[in-house]
Symmetry: D2
Subunit: 307 residues, 4 copies
């Protein structure tokens, strides 16, 4: 049923948007590109894990229209371009890892050095962003910053390199909640004045949803990334299609754990929609789902250079 939902998104997405004359005049970023706008959301653990490559595949082939992720979902992608993450174990002890400079994320290990490389890479970019703010009056937002970082990383292994290339907006309103925040904290003392505005991003996110013809939501995990996409889809009277993969439960009243039907009451999902929630670890399910849907559009090259 999840495959069916995704295939309906793809079917509508393969059709033109049939814009009205008024819609033709919209800012291109708000103007629907097809008959279905696909929103992809995921929490940072999925970028730490190998699901990053599946997400990058979708961005590279421009199979999605808008991304929402958390701070870690941004920075871990760039950091992986600078140095690798290692496979550890859920039960390695903190007191053993700390002296070795190894940070545990579930069963993965990220060395402190990776964050040093990240600092070396991002600090000059923050300086440059501040310079542009002062000189050209640029009002930076998280989405503009992510696009800039995607341009600067210039690495086809990066999700956000492809988002930059393919003009896929990426929203992360709490981008300060992680290593990027640490850098902005230090930068605020070293070279103060950089502003990251979240009002313009919510205007953009909600406008994209409001102008979409049909819309589909594919969301892994809960919390901010799940709610943010749902909330925006209220602006168009509810999403048409939805696939949600997470292990959260409804009994604690969390949005993460809510069944899709809760979103129907809010007008975040249409009453006529047939959304699917999969109670499973996305690292297990999402690659299977993509292999049976989006990936069918791509023929592997015979010389094996592609994906």
């Amino acid at each position: 049923m999840a495959i069916e939902q995704i295939n309906k998104m793809r079917e509508h997405r393969s059709k033109p948007a049939n814009l009205s004359p008024e819609e033709e005049k919209l800012d291109p970023i708000y103007r629907p590109r097809s008959d279905c706008t696909v929103f992809l959301g995921y929490t940072s653990n999925l970028v730490s894990s190998g699901v990053r490559e599946t997400i990058r595949f979708l961005a590279q082939h421009r199979m999605i229209d808008c991304i929402v992720t958390s701070a870690g979902g941004i920075e871990e992608d760039f950091i992986k371009c600078l140095a690798p993450t290692f496979l550890g174990d859920f039960f390695l002890k903190g007191r053993d890892l700390r002296p070795k400079g190894l940070n545990r994320t579930g069963n993965l290990l990220v060395p402190n050095d990776n964050y040093c490389l990240f600092e070396d890479w991002i600090m000059p970019i923050l300086d440059q962003m501040l310079a542009e703010q002062k000189e050209q009056g640029t009002l930076w937002t998280p989405s503009k910053m992510i696009a800039r970082l995607g341009k600067e990383i210039d690495n086809p292994e990066s999700i956000y390199y492809w988002c930059y290339k393919n003009e896929i907006p990426v929203f992360s309103p709490a981008i300060t909640d992680g290593s990027i925040g640490d850098m902005l904290f230090m930068h605020a003392y070293k070279n103060p004045g950089l502003i990251l505005d979240i009002v313009h991003d919510i205007k953009m996110m909600d406008s994209i949803a409001a102008h979409s013809k049909h819309s589909g939501m594919i969301i892994m995990g809960g919390g901010l990334v799940k709610h943010h996409i749902h909330n925006a889809n209220q602006m168009k009277g509810g999403a048409d299609y939805g696939v949600f993969i997470n292990t959260a439960q409804e009994f604690d009243g969390s949005d993460g754990g809510a069944r899709p039907d809760e979103a129907v009451s809010w007008g975040k999902i249409k009453e006529t929609a047939r959304p699917v929630k999969i109670f499973a670890d996305a690292t297990l399910v999402f690659p299977l789902l993509v292999s049976q849907t989006f990936a069918k559009d791509i023929k592997p090259l015979t010389n094996g250079t592609q994906d």
Copy 2:
């Protein structure tokens, strides 16, 4: 054991900070107020639920030093000052609720009208904030906005009224992720130009943690609110005390589900700390915990007017 952790926070918090001459010169907002800085985090469902009153109690009696919550954790508090939330049921159907204008949050129902009242209340404040930005050069941040809203609501039932009165900073970097975001979206068309900067807030949040003598974390739920407090506590070499209440599991590699020991590897919790994770619904556990710890400091008035 959770009670023990909280009592240690309270014990240190009852002692003066013993500031060095250099620390005396710090901006008062960054200067530690006692020997232990207590960070309280909670997701929005807890404000939708009756835990709001317990949180308000802690803010009213200035028993905590810093709050981190999600967008819903802010707005639901104000909306409850304007109109009530109702008890429904987890299994009421979206298609029945939608035509009645009832939005379901777990087993609670919030009428659409509540959000209309919220719009009527907040829109003039947003106008005023924009005017101050233009006229006085105010750089608004989520925490400044929350303090302003707390002042404006002027209602002792509100958590953020007491945070304003008691100068307890409240951070919500993704404050756009909910009804406040909807309002900012509409405001950006009606009366454009308001900026909400998240860089200054991360500077403030991290500085408070960095300057704290000891620190304690009490966190209900996962996602942003859990990670944000943990990340800030890295700036002081790790929190000394911690109590975490949530139902998330570690196997999916989420930060929400991670055991406290994962945070030790990152230096977010000290190696010597004895943090406690309670796998339970916070609505059940948190009021019990507060009753056996913080609430013991308060004598009920004989004429029964307090709390």
Copy 3:
């Protein structure tokens, strides 16, 4: 709401059964003792934990009518009369514990020696049971064996001592699934021939349910103990009251995780009933529930010798 369910059970249970002349002729074990038959079910971990004392309280004061538990739920009660269980930690390593002869059950530790003491105690009883089978033609069943063990332990700390004294039948169809099974395995080589029949027990269990006037189910945990009580209540057209405490989820289609409404479709719970499922650890919730319901009937003795 759970308190309400339990209070309704207690209210009906305080009334006489008003037996018909035909019912008066029933075997006393099948004849309802009051207007409500209360079934209590729990998995073995709750007897390993301190909930054992709360269960014993209910048996001692004859507040329940029938118990269903798993093999561990039987033997851990007797073993605790012989030697204590210790508090350990969920993360003690098996390879460290094994050489020390410490068996981990969650965060509890049971020394090997306890099972040796159990063997020394139970083996002569098994011999005696076999002798009675041979000499008097006794057909042993799990429930008869449990009553006999309750008599033999002769210790007011034991749940099953009180069940024996108060004629509360205890069913455990898979009583071989644990240390008692190990003993029966060894006994089957040393002194072969003992038979434990489960047909007579299902006849008894189902008959008790079938003849009950009203019935209530209080069940902690899932699996066999939950299903067995439900299945029996089908014989009377469904239970009238129900309180279920467990952390299992429905998405995997398990009976343990099923919401009470699934049981309505089977006629295990009446359509008119208002059963309550609490998604929580029973060690947290059950003592609170009992304190607010059953325990209110008992006045503590002034010299403090009771409970």
Copy 4:
């Protein structure tokens, strides 16, 4: 890693047992058939679901040596030979289903009629079993009964038909906990006297484990089926290989939720073993696992008649 565990079981299982002269004299049922005895356990929901066909495949091709399941895991297999189970939905209401005679099991529906067909089929078999008990002195046990039912069903769609044909013992100590129990209850009034002894079954189960050379455990779900296989493997000093698929969590101290390391402390799993727990719905994972392991041994017939 789970694939690796299963492949090690298969590798050892492909080798002869190399019996000592003393072992050659063992009752064939206790005598190891190869260098690795594979125990398969599963809860009843998996037989209600489509995993039944995967289990039947393993029994048909004699790829496992011993099965433990719950009462529903036995009866639902036979009932599916008599009439189909239907796909419904988790949220169909009990009060709507009850008048239609539809029993819900998760998202599946089993009509009352299926149980009537089951009664018609099994009652004469129970009569015959009782006759053999009286006439030939047969001591029936759950495992003997299951083998007899497997013979009587005479249907290659049945798991237990193949277990009977391939002499794979199937243990279900609480076989009375379901529809078979209902039948035994009624039979105990109509035609009393049938005895089902569980002592002989535990002797057999534990002896099979005790005599095994190496052993592997593949267990889906928790409760009795998980514990029973673990407990038996204590008799040989712990299993060598293990794959566990369930969604239970350890924090409530349940055996179902315990990590494999808990079993190491008990000697149920060897210290040197590398068991794997998969936190997932088995309906998703088990068919994938079997397809990549056991199923590789079988070549599909070109005329497509097999499986």
